[in-house]
Amino acid sequence: MADKIFRVNMTNLTSTIEEVPPAWAGYGGRGLTSTIVSAEVEPTCHPLGPKNKLVIAPGLLSGTVAANSGRLSIGAKSPLTGTIKEANSGGTAAQLLARAGVKALIIEGQPKGDTWYSLAVTPEGVTVNEETELIGKGNFAVVDALTKRTGGKQGLITIGPAGEMKMGGANISIKDPDGGLRSSGRGGLGAVLGSKKIKFIAIDPKDGKVAIADPEKFREANKVFAKALVDHPVSQALGQYGTNVLVNIINESGGLPTQNFSKGQFAGHEAISGETMHDTILARGGRIKHNCHPGCVIQCSQVFNDAAGNKLTSGFEYESIWAMGADCCVDNLDHIAQADKLMDDIGVDTIETSVAFGVAMEAGVLAFGDGAGVCRILQEDIAKGTPLGRIIGNGAGSVGRAFGITRVPVVKNQAIPAYDPRAIKGIGITYATSTQGADHTMGYTIATNILGVGGKLDPLTKEGQVELSRNLQIATAAIDSTGMCLFIAFAALDNATCLPALIDLINAKYGLSLTGDDVVNLGKYILRTERAFNTAAGFTSADDRLPEFFYLEPLPPHNVVFDFTGKEIDTFWNF
């Protein structure tokens, strides 16, 4: 089936299927969402107004049997940052969209009235339907109701109450193979879908299949690729402990942001660590391994049960556990799991919202360590949209402004994730220069600064950090275009067979002869395209800086500050 552009106009509630413009043909995932947003969205538009567009694109390999290729890219102008945005997620939607022949789904315009809608995507096109029953409902209720209404096999993309209320921390949820949720978390894209009055998107590919130009070459390449993934020890550790294995090692390095980024180590680290979580899951009968999409061979996800043995949450990630745990000084894994589930249900980003709680704790809204208080405010304020709930639901920057706090860990108004840039300097360069606000996944220098993957570079020295971040951001932009999970990067950095096999997969699917240089050039093109959008939106190099407190307040235990000059940071763009 030839891929097409599916376009929905929410102003007049019509949809079309268009041929793919030749200029877009070589792109998928982030490369495609950023290309389309740059081509069609006015950079200065209001992110929640009729001129913004939400673009949903599977990766170049999504829908094939290639291992770990089921990631979805969602792009728009972000209401949180004001920059271009791509949020990347697992779940089944990417594979099902690809099988339905959708290269990209573009949602534009805005209805005038108060009516809410849903979209149904099939290979024949998109229908826009009025929705009443599920408005105001949490994401889990939406998934349950739609599983009954449409059967369990459809892909689902939904927003919770936070997206309906257009909060800056609102995420977009993607149903996983077991009816759990994965999140396109960052940048408030749930608010953009809410501004289009769309509660959910159902995807039914019917009997659609993805065409492969050279099936035999594809099979061979996939064997080599999957073996490189499975053989890498990081993949194995991810399966056993999940991403949360990082709590103890980042704490040991002195770079675990604690008590709203005032310390680099958390006294309660052991209680929230991957090791404790692993033992707890075993004791309570959850699942150690779980895949966010079919075909994942790493299985870093898990199912975490409560003390009675009932499922509490799944996809319980390091970033969420750090943010609600160390940053808010909550050392009770059950409170953190409960908060994680509530945030998934309400539809807010766990990083943004938890960091916002850390700032709120500093402001005295509730005490550091009050995990039960976090759960109460999530249910009584954020889910219901009280004034306090909207202040927190709009993110860490919003809380800081409302309460006059200066220690507000954001870049371009997006909350800084789980690695302190004073003690791990490479990631500070990524936070500062990322085209999308603070985001560790844009250029994960932790691999080399802390984990010894892809070489070693002392996290406390300045030398080499800009180059490291640059190389990783270029590679990441390319990987985010393939539909591949970013965790293939650990194998790609260390195993010489991995990246060539990935390129072979793309070549076999499309009948191309791309080389490694083409992949690097793709990454550079994406970064430049995204930056050009931001520049046109009014951003300058003065926005590529960390908050002042990182330069002023030494972080224990190393008692270091972030000490890159603006000029040094700006050399990032010398490529």
């Binding site: 020890p233 990081v234 550790a237 991810l238 056993q240 402990y241 999940g242 991403t243 949360n244 294995v245 990082l246 103890n248 090692i249 040991e252 390095s253 002195g254 180590q265 052991e270 991957g274 090791e275 870093c300 390091y318 970033e319 560790h440 996944t441 994960y444 932790i446 691999a447 802390i450 984990l451 010894g452 993957v453 070693k456 002392d458 996290p459 406390l460 970013l486 965790f487 650990f490 235990p557 190393h558």
Partner: protein
Amino acid sequence: MKRITVKLFAYFRDNRFKLEEREISEETTVGDIVDALGIDRQEVGVLMVNSRHTEFVYRPAAGDVLAIFPVVGGG
């Protein structure tokens, strides 16, 4: 002899310990300690002494805290 603290992480804890104080000789290296624990050096991903990265050849000083991690990742 000098006294140091050894911390183990992830599956290195299985049938060993989380944290233990040890007496070591003046000449003992980090590699010797790893070997004595029956940990394959190939499986070691990260070594830290007092929250700074270190190598197998380093000789811990009295009071040092040595942390031994297998190859791990996440993010």
